[in-house]
Amino acid sequence: MWIVAEQIAAYAQLKRLSPQTVARWQAWAEPDRAALWELVQALQLGENHLRDFLDWCEEIALRDGSTVAAFLARPELRRPLTAQLGRNDKLKAVKDALRKLRYPRLSQLEEELRLAVKALDLGGRVQVSFPPSLEGEDVTVTITARNTKELDEHVTRVRQRLEDGAIQRLFALLDQV
């Protein structure tokens, strides 16, 4: 039992973690503490990422009446750890998976929008993007072109999607949960 606590303390010193963050983590039940320790070690989390993990883990556990250890064992969170990926890609994959658990409806809406943009089939040089966390109305369409002919093609394709209602549906989707 003390091994994890000591390992966390040593890691905190190495990464210069704040005493508040460490105290919060150390206050968890032993299995929860150990489950997060495994992730922290594998992903070499620093202060900011660790605080996000602590927030999300506590919030998910409270919401679902579950334990941190139970949901951190889920395959979508474990898989990236053993994948042939660099540390940053692993971190991104684990964090994305944890965010989906923490924000299920927001993540689902983001995924639906991603698929809807893909279905517009506007080509690689027309980008459609949404405000961060979908807070706001502005949908940004970026067209990149090397010449007027290319620009005309891209604009024509966007116009077609406007006329057939696909872009209208995309805007409507922003409000649907």
Binding site: D55, E58, E59, I60, L62, R63, R102, Y103, P104, R105, L106, L109, P132, S133, L134, E135, G136, E137, L174, D175, Q176, V177
Partner: protein, 369 residues
Amino acid sequence: MKRYQPEEILIERGEENTPVVRRTLDHLPDTPVRIVEPGWEREAPPRDGTDSFAAGKRRLLFTRQRSTFLEHCPAGTSGLVCCNYLVVSLISNCPMDCSYCFLQEYLANNPLLKVFTNVEDLMSEVAKAVDRQPWRQFRIGTGELSDSLALDPLLGFSGDLVPFFAARKNVLLEFKTKSDRIEELLKHDPKDRVVVSWSLTPPAIADTEEHGTASFAERLHAAQRVQAAGYKVGFHFDPLIEYPHWEEGYRDTITQVFSAVDPRRVAWVSLGSLRMTPALRAIARRRFPQTRLLSGEQILCDDGKWRTFQALRVKMYRTITAWLKEAAPQAPQYMCMETTPVWEKVFGHAPSCDKDVARMLTQPNLVAS
């Protein structure tokens, strides 16, 4: 609702014989009293213990307001639709302890329960302001830095304020409360110039997150009684909280409210999403580790506050405003601290300026459609 009992009463020298102090001491004859010098609280050592904010609520300090009383409501943040509301604070801090309360952050460094003794200065300030613009309709509330009525049985401020506001034609006074402390109000005639409004959440939330408040049933009973006594009533579904089965919770709450009160004599109903700064979230997490409020799908918005993400928030607003419209078609509805696009999505239009919202709320015939 539990009676407020301070551990200690502190009276600034020179304020011992003010009416509010005398009234309070009559009601609390056994509470230790200490006379302190003006400005004492600035030098007072911080209280020991892990929750100085909670401890501060049990120390009642009587002092003078040396600054102005009348202020613009701080919710009028740039980029958000404002309702042109004014606030006056005779009390700073609250005997209740809601897990989402902004006072936990706002008063973190000075967590006493302060009562200002110079109510006559407040009234003269208000009189000057509203008499200067007799054509304008003002709305002034006392519930910004404290519950408006929770301490009324001790302090009796409503006995000063109701007759003063009842005598003026161009101002509405709003008492905003989560209490059922209305006895003093019932002794006065509001002459249609006083609105008593209740902040409401479904009982499942009120019971777990609004510590030390009156229960939902108690609030409703109090609303019935003040309405019968001639007061207009209002309701604030603020903070609006997204939790599992929120639809049933809010539907049921609205049904019960408008079966209990006459919907035709409801001055206004407001809605406002739960919003918390990052610092407030950290405080709430520390003080109320079991709170479920932080587990909703909230994200950080442009004004630096966490809210339920927009699509879900708009869904909640649309659902609840439709139920309210059905239950109380004449009651004006508005939202607090929301953007113009969200107003457009919810009400189909946004006010062209903040005066529009104020006009709608002071001329009840102009009901939001």
